[in-house]
Assembly symmetry: C2
Homo-oligomer: 209 residues x 2
DNA sequence: TGTACATCAGTGAACGCGCGTTCACTGATGTAC
DNA sequence: TGTACATCAGTGAACGCGCGTTCACTGATGTAC
């Protein structure tokens, strides 16, 4: 069969079905939203039978977890990329915040799955675990650098939590129509984001102390 | 039948089924969470046939809207009640914020439905409409009073948005296990809430200007 | 006050649907000799 | 290099389930005369 494996005829064994399923799930999220994300739909989108995914995932939840994991990786990359954009250490927190919220706007359904997977679970979402290179730690360490050595540990932690919550709230609510006139008045989506973040204390260099 | 209408034997006509259905829905949310909230489950809980709700609601969405509406009323009352608790005008915003987040913690499933109903809709959630006595306007008018006359309208609006987003984020994430040690260190849930809100600029009297 | 009748607010059975998951199977692959 | 065979990764049909909604119906209520 291998010699006949043209683009149309998929070989019996897929080769990398696990990844293909996660990709299919992301495509469904992108095109139809979280409510369309069933195991069967994912299998359909990937072009395999509804039973095939069970050779790669214990159940639907495990597939969703894998999708969420990819999401957290993407978000982490996006936030790390903000480092490059920041003109100064003082501006870094704002850039990270903007990155975070923009990611949620570019991938709203994926963003939703990322948090839905974490709810009612003992495990934390990947991006918020205490790994050295998690997104959460990126924020905390940035605060630590900005704040300087004479700021208490608990305040750094609190500033991180506050920033994360604020960004998450903005991510979830940024699309509300209520805000449209305000956005227009300010000159667009990103200007709006920056203005709101500017009103949140810990996105300014002097506050976390 | 009216004379035989004891507690056990429900008369054929319910009398106030609409309200009973909304109450049943809230009970289901309280006990089993949002994923258990089907039309059939609500009818079951209310003790009527699955077709009965259709005499009071066009479809499932309309029932959910009614449930969400009750939620927004409750939240509004809770926030208005914060006025009484606030020692000073300066402390008022913090008390409103605490009220908001505590409501979400006391009614997590209802809170979720309130926002789920708003998503993908043109209409805004009740609590955020521009009615004089919506929760959103309560926050904005509080900011206006705190800020004084020489603050620009756009800054009051931005502070309101920022506060709302921050509170919403805290409401959604406050239950994360990540924060448990921090909560303990600070002396409990409410202390944690107040500490986080304290790090958010616009919950302090001097900032919105 | 009684009665005919329209209307209202329920019933319960049924519809089709998509879901998550299981099952016996089979085609393809890799390995031991 | 061939061959037997275990293992892997698919298939497709079927399971039971709960869902939202519709339908013809019926019991109860209210109103006109």
């Amino acid at each position: 069969m291998r010699e006949a494996a043209t683009a149309e005829i998929r070989p019996y064994h897929h080769g990398d079905l696990r990844r293909a399923l996660v990709d299919a799930a992301r495509r469904i999220l992108e095109n139809e939203g979280p409510s369309a994300l069933s195991l069967r739909a994912v299998a359909r989108e990937a072009g395999v039978s509804p039973a095939a995914p069970y050779h790669h995932f214990k159940d639907k939840g495990e597939l969703l977890d894998a999708v969420a994991h990819v999401g957290w990786d993407m978000l982490g990359e996006s936030m790390t990329g903000a480092k490059a954009r920041a003109a100064s250490l003082g501006a870094l927190m704002t850039e990270i915040g903007v990155s975070y919220v923009q990611f949620s706007q570019q991938h709203p359904a994926l963003y939703r799955v990322m948090y839905d997977c974490s709810r009612d679970k003992d495990m934390l979402p990947e991006g918020m675990q205490d790994n050295e290179d998690s997104a959460y730690c990126l924020v905390r360490e940035t605060f630590r650098k900005v704040a300087g050595p004479d700021v208490q540990e608990v305040d750094i932690e609190l500033a991180t939590v506050a920033a994360w919550c604020a960004a998450h709230g903005l991510a979830e609510m940024g699309g509300f129509k209520q805000f449209d006139p305000l956005k227009e008045g300010l000159g667009g989506e990103e200007a709006f984001l920056r203005a709101v973040l500017g009103h949140l204390g810990m996105f300014q260099p002097s506050r976390p102390a």
